[in-house]
Assembly symmetry: C2
Homo-oligomer: 232 residues x 2
């Protein structure tokens, strides 16, 4: 299944613990894909361990690259974040230049999916780590989405509220300004109601932390998305 | 004529003076296009004056946008620089976000051509103005070209040596690393020999300062490019 058809994905953090039984239920939940990614303490061992455990199931699995030290072959897809609202070029392109310099000859570009991140929760780890300017006005968030689609032709624009539920009205405004770029929404989806609400707006919703915090509710987000219809 | 077919362009600086007779010879030279653009003292009056004078001829004319205050309708194309080796996000995307915020609803995106600049002459005005990191190694310059093509899918990668003649060996290495992105070369082309040399490597060469410094030699670059063949 192509990423462009994904409506729901679970994001698993290699630095966190999940039991075999829970992992099986996540992988067999009917979600469209598993994304392996996190911000802190990402190690190659952690990534490989999780990859091997997820590979027992048929669900597609993508690695979201956050550290050059934790990249491995064997994934179906690789997500490459570029933080569009970072105030440093480091998170927008310097790390990418370094990676191309070191590994460019090995990179299979057709497996790489560029994500234009817009990080919107000022207190989340990713915002702090990437020096994101989270004080954007609505118009500026929309302008970043247009930048992603029209200037940089990124296939994905990712509104990341990690740890906090975002504003559906703003997410909807962003969606209405995108023609071809796929809108990912992540953050604060702690159960089926919020999943259904955001899935009616964004192209794809990402459920992460709640897997670790409210497992049963997190699982219910899959069915909620499948049953959701655009209402905006 | 599509930009992708351009082999030669003259870049005219609205802040500099050119006689009507010289302008006619530039426009009727057989060049593929005229680019109006500069770094310092760019005013709307200067841009409009030059546009009106160039419009008397049939040559295509593009505006390279360097200042939000000097944008006008009436051009065939608009080039939008994003300085990939800037050490500030300002020149890479902040100005673009501001422009989209202010003018986004009016922008005809199909007329906009994004240029991924890599500014390589440390002492040129553009390098200083955009805080460009001109100390790149060969591998880093190549990595910026790959970044332009594979990460940001920019239609143009522009090696800008403004005021200085670049290294044909490096330009050739960059060219060999690009599949679809068009390679612009600019800088130090003061006559037909250098024009022929760089035109044999880059997709498009841009002749700027020499129009003002060595007019007759500059004009000869058009024929030199038409007669050049890839030798690398």
């Amino acid at each position: 299944m192509e990423i462009s058809s994904w409506r729901h994905a679970f994001k698993l953090d290699p630095a966190k613990t999940i039991s075999d039984e829970s992992l099986e239920r996540v992988c067999e939940s009917g979600t469209d894909g598993i994304i392996i990614g996190g911000t802190d303490d990402i190690t190659l061992e952690g990534v490989l361990d999780l990859l091997m455990r997820v590979r027992r199931f048929t669900v597609p699995v993508a690695l979201e690259i956050s550290s050059m030290d934790a990249i491995s072959p064997g994934f179906d897809y690789y997500f490459i974040p570029t933080v569009l609202n970072s105030s440093s070029t480091k998170w927008m392109k310097d790390l990418h230049v370094s990676a191309i310099k070191e590994f460019g000859h090995m990179i299979q570009w057709h497996e790489m999916i560029m994500e234009g991140y817009c990080i919107l929760n000022p207190s989340c780890k990713a915002a702090i780590a990437t020096e994101a300017d989270t004080s954007l006005t609505e118009e500026e968030v929309i302008a970043h989405a247009v930048l992603a689609e029209k200037v940089f032709r990124l296939p994905v624009f990712y509104m990341e509220y990690s740890g906090m539920y975002g504003d559906p009205v703003l997410v909807n405004k962003v969606k209405r300004n995108l023609d071809t770029t796929q809108l990912f929404y992540g953050g604060g989806i702690d159960g089926p109601d919020k999943a259904a609400e955001m899935a009616a707006i964004a192209d794809t919703i990402i459920v992460g932390n709640s897997i670790y915090d409210q497992f049963e509710e997190a699982l219910k987000t899959v069915a909620a998305v499948k049953n959701s219809h655009a209402t905006y």
